[in-house]
Amino acid sequence: MATALQDIHHSPYIWRGKEISRRNTHFITSEINSIDQAIGGWPLGALIEFTSKQVGVGELSLLTPALRKLSQQDKWIALICPPYIPYAPALSTNGIDIKKILVIVTSNTSDTAWAMDQAIRSKSCSAVVGWFSFVTEKILRRLQLAMDTQETLGAYFINTESAPRNVPTPWRITVDGKYDQTIINITKRRGGMPISTLATTHPAIQECCGSV
């Protein structure tokens, strides 16, 4: 593990995960200890689904450290159909180079899916993150197909209740809040068993009430 951690520091931010997968998945550190330790960071080139019952439990914050690293590349970070305004001061406080952010507003699922697909395939995005209020298996299959050929961080958020039960998405993660904690359950992952109840402090709590 120690060498792996060193890799994070010295080599580029991408390192090869230890776990064996169908193909060689690349990971980017999430900079969240519990996640990095459990699964080695966020996979690239594989679609990740985040579901939560409500917004505000720290779900987007799970990605922000990774986005900060990715924003150092000369590529876009595409945010597609975000539910609210991605608030620039907060993102830049998190260290994200906000000039890399590309916000794409769509009015229906098929546009969202199309835009995500375009963004993934264009080779010009280091991360493609979408928000669905509803999605179909077919759409997700196509997106995953696009992801297969890329080294992009691809993720989508969807309300727990709207997410289809069986999806081709290789990574599925549910996020819940419990007081100061953000609770993470990895319900599906490539080349591994589900992992439940990883916990991290909600970053907002960290900031306003964090230890001195």
Partner: protein
């Protein structure tokens, strides 16, 4: 030889203020301390500006006055442009600084139907270029220039006549300020009076060039003029004094340059099939628009039409600072049949293409970047932006990842805010009182609160101690 001299008495202002901007009383000042008014437009004349007036007296007359410092560099540039443009009337034109252009018309006068018709033609075109001019002609270049500078519209074909006229002109024409001052200190007022003084003594006191100039002016000694070279390449830039987004202003400026392009092409007896317009905005970002014609042309009206049509479809920079017109190729003229083929964007960068593609389907406004703006008011601390544009930093305050487009009013119970149940305040208040200067004085106490569902939200209460609570952000 017969020289036509075009004097531009208002070049100082015309070089700086394009005609379409000429709406307010405007004056040009020199770099003196205190500055003096050296030129002004009609409006300023009307309200009583006078040449060599001090700037403060001018302001005392009108506080509306717009003032710009003189740019000799730009004046000369304009004169050079005019000399080049005038090559269509003669193979020999020349700039006579600081304010004249000479055209040798002896050999071409017949071609243009006589002096009167020629001067009429020139006056009309000069006006279209946005200049005012006074013209005189004489057998010597300097003679013509002195006449025109003195404000005469005369055409003298004989040497004797010229000499008589020149001798009556004031000494101010013939030397630098220091020379003129010493000539005047001897009580001498006209060029003729100098000519009568002992030649050797004058040369001793005022230098040899002075009498030389008189000799050249009256044709005693020759006065060769450096001809204006026919340019190899056409690229003209027009700086706007006031950045504008007004299409008609931009077109006005472009038209002026297209007229010059036409003259350039006709000199070279060619047309163009490929030219470009570069609009530079305040951030010095350039907006390039390329034009391809299927057949070469130099007709200024035709070219202007094409440009207008195209610009109507383009999204122009919000505040254009300068316009450049560049001719990218020339070819011999053929039949007058044109069509416009918009040029393909040469930049094939994936990122730009992605944006174009997305915009094409989702609409221009639905694809944007975001920037952070240093402003105490949360809703003003961000803005939509051109993707990829650098923005200023805000301090690292505690702020939510999601901001609501509009604060959402919360229900309250006993003055306590509710959102799907009671809220628990985690942090705050952070008091924000700012923004009063632009009608949006924002006075709020912000709190971080937790919902019963364990979501963290950003809420505020209006001040002074109001009871209205609002949801403004979510810590996603």
């Amino acid at each position: 030889m017969l020289w036509l001299c075009l004097n531009f008495p208002k070049i100082a202002i015309e070089a700086l203020i394009p005609k379409w901007e000429d709406v307010n009383p405007t004056a040009i000042i020199d770099s003196g301390q205190p500055p003096q008014i050296i030129a002004f437009n009609k409006k300023a004349q009307k309200i009583g500006l006078q040449k060599y007036m001090s700037l403060s007296s001018a302001f005392a007359i009108s506080s509306e006055l717009q003032v710009f410092p003189r740019s000799i560099h730009k004046e000369i540039k304009h004169l050079e442009d005019i000399a080049t443009w005038a090559l269509q009337y003669s193979s020999h034109t020349s700039v006579q600084p600081p304010d004249c252009v000479l055209i040798e018309i002896g050999s071409s006068i017949k071609l243009f139907g006589g002096l009167e018709s020629l001067t009429l033609k020139i006056t009309k075109s000069i006006n279209a270029l946005g200049h005012t001019t006074i013209m005189s002609s004489a057998t010597t270049p300097l003679g013509a220039a002195w006449l025109a500078r003195s404000g005469f519209n005369v055409h003298l074909q004989s040497r004797k006549e010229l000499e008589n006229c020149i001798y009556r002109l004031p000494v101010s024409l013939i030397g630098n300020a220091q020379q003129v001052n010493s000539i005047r200190s001897f009580g001498i007022r006209t060029i003729g009076e100098i000519a009568q003084l002992p030649r050797k003594e004058v040369t001793q006191r005022l230098g040899a060039d002075l009498l030389d100039k008189i000799d050249r002016a009256i044709g005693v000694i020759p006065d060769p003029q450096p001809p204006t070279p026919i340019p190899e390449h056409f690229k003209k830039k027009l700086e706007l004094t006031v950045p504008t987004e007004d299409l008609s202003s931009i077109l006005f400026g472009i038209r002026r340059m297209v007229i010059q392009l036409e003259s350039f092409l006709s000199l070279r007896n060619t047309g163009t099939t490929h030219f470009a317009i570069h609009l530079k905005d305040e951030s010095l970002k350039t907006h390039d628009i390329r034009f391809k014609l299927s057949r070469p042309s130099r007709n200024s009206k035709h070219l202007t039409d094409l440009i207008r049509e195209r610009l109507n479809q383009e999204t122009l920079p919000s505040r254009t600072e300068s316009i450049t017109l560049e001719c990218l190729n020339e070819s011999p003229l053929s039949a007058q049949n044109f069509s416009l083929l918009p040029d393909q964007n040469q930049t094939t960068e994936d990122g730009i293409q992605l944006i174009e593609k997305l915009r094409a389907r989702l609409g221009y406004d639905n694809v944007f970047g975001i920037s952070s703006i240093p402003d105490g008011r949360p809703e003003k601390a961000w803005a939509k932006n051109i993707p990829g544009k650098q923005s200023k930093e805000n301090p690292s305050y505690l702020r939510p990842t999601w901001l609501l487009p509009k604060p959402k009013k919360l229900y309250t119970k006993d003055n306590n805010p509710l959102l799907d149940g009671p809220l628990i305040i985690i942090d705050g208040p952070e008091r924000i009182e700012t923004g009063w200067w632009d009608e949006q004085d924002t006075r709020r106490d912000y709190f971080v609160a937790r919902t019963t569902d364990h979501a963290l939200i950003w809420i505020f209460r209006e001040l002074p101690e109001g009871t209205n609570w609002f949801l403004h952000g979510i810590f996603s």
